[in-house]
């Protein structure tokens, strides 16, 4: 087996750091016991209490997405530098870590996914909750039929001033926050209403039934997307909000920030 070590040794020879994706406690201990080794932990939470930790907003199923997002976050936090060689240990089949891949950090591949969560006006937890909500809605639909939905998160005061009500606001004088247990069911029912949901920085659902009136000038979103995406994308250019859109036609969840498409996920993949 010594021969195998030589061959596979290339994978982790002279790496700048080891990146562990959601390691178990004992696994992490073994790595942190190795001297002169930079260990970075990436995951949805940090149960092992690692010092260098990058938070993932979603437990990405797709390995390359998981690694790309994690490394972008690490680059953003100046934990790693452009061109660093990294040994990324992650799990593909089971919960245990079973795969090592050698990745070179590339700052040019900047997509802004990490910025979407960490550098938006709204709280990262709120954005995460809305994204999960949209994904869940996309997975199940309304009574088995696909639904579309448009969530505008953050900078709610400005968004409210750049929109008008289509009908009475069902959330008026209510104190519903995303992440409350009842919200998923409630929003699923309300998703058949037209218009956008407006959610404040702290996660309060301010209004449903909003007709957005941004100027669509200079909005660069892929051709072929409908009015919902256009409205969502455009309002993020006019305000500091972000838009999370569930497409009715192709079932994908997309996120816009500053008028640009940042993230595209398939609900079926989660």
């Amino acid at each position: 087996m010594a021969g195998l070590d030589d061959v596979f040794g290339d994978l982790f020879a002279s790496v700048d750091a080891v990146v562990l994706f959601s390691p178990s406690g004992s696994y992490y201990e073994r790595f942190s016991a190795v001297e002169d080794l930079d260990v970075i932990v990436i995951g949805t939470e940090n149960p092992v209490g690692a010092e260098t930790f990058v938070e993932l907003p979603l437990a990405f199923d797709n390995i390359s997405e998981r690694i790309r997002f994690g490394l972008e976050g690490a680059l953003e936090q100046d934990i790693i530098e452009d061109g660093d060689a990294l040994a990324c240990a992650t799990s593909v089949f089971d919960d245990e870590i079973d795969t090592v891949s050698r990745v070179r950090a590339n700052a040019d591949q900047h997509t802004g996914i990490y910025d979407l969560f960490a550098k938006s006006r709204a709280d990262p937890e709120v954005i995460k909750a809305v994204l999960e909500l949209a994904i869940e809605l996309g997975k199940k639909g309304q009574k088995g039929k696909p639904v579309g939905a448009l969530f505008i998160v953050g900078d709610a005061g400005k968004v409210m001033n750049k929109s008008r009500p289509l009908s009475y606001n069902p959330f008026e004088k209510s104190h519903v926050h995303v992440g409350d247990p009842i919200v998923n069911v409630m929003l699923k029912e309300f998703s058949r209403l037209d218009g956008a949901f407006v959610i404040s920085d702290a996660g309060k659902i301010v209004s449903a039934y909003r007709y957005l009136e941004p100027s669509a000038e200079g909005v660069d979103i892929p051709k072929g997307l409908g009015a919902r995406h256009m409205a969502g994308g455009a309002i993020t250019r006019d305000t500091n909000a972000i838009a999370i859109v569930l497409s009715e036609s192709d079932g994908l969840v997309r996120a816009f920030k500053a008028g640009e498409l940042i993230l595209e996920v398939d609900p079926e993949a989660y």
Binding site: D155, A156, G157, K158, V159, M160, N161, E172, K173, H175, S200, D201, A202, K204, V206
Partner: protein, 255 residues
Amino acid sequence: MVDWQALVDEPAVIAAAVLVLGLIVGYLVGRLNKELLSASGVPDAVEGTPFERTAQSIGTSTVDIVARLSSWFIYGIAVLTAIHIAQLLDTDAFWLRVTEFIPQVFVAVLVLILGFIIADKVELVVSEYFRGVKLPEISIVPKLLKYSVLYVAFIIALGQIGVHILALLILLAVYAAGVVLVGTFAFKDFLVSSAVGIYLLLNQPYSIGDEITIGDQTGIVQEVDLFVTKIETDSQEYIVPNRKVFEEGIVRMRE
């Protein structure tokens, strides 16, 4: 048959029977207690407290100690009753005092154990809560709470076994009054703000998206919570304590 009758009437036999019965009942009560405590989730609740850890290190557990305590209490009663029946010690005064004293000691010990566990648990929970605040001085708060709870437990336990605790009670009263005074003084603004905040959340005189003026600050409302209202203009973001809403009044801008 006659022999049997004579034997049953013998005080020593009755005493032995009482003793055996006491041992059996004590053992059963101990077991029952243990089962009940385990079923009601006590082991989970006390997990991680120093008391439990100390108990573990000497090869037992909190549940075991409490259960055994109740057993011993019943053993003790049985032994005393047996002694009394067998008339080994014929001193009524002594007997009277002991019967009064034993339950008190039992309750006192129970209160102490409970006090230790609650104190440890309070310290754990509070320090867990403060973990997000990375400030070394904050670690004094859980400690202070722990010793406050312990102090109260000691007073109750001492009171139970009849020690004069007036001085300790006065100390406690002074301490509590101090905490309340300092608390109201320090949190006065918070209390006022949250009272106004409740009114604002219930009545919503203004909501997110309205343009309002509070005092000198004019802007669009971004967020209303219990303590503060966040309003902002294009370049500034004001975080206004809610009490200012009542002190200065609100001006709602109409277009």
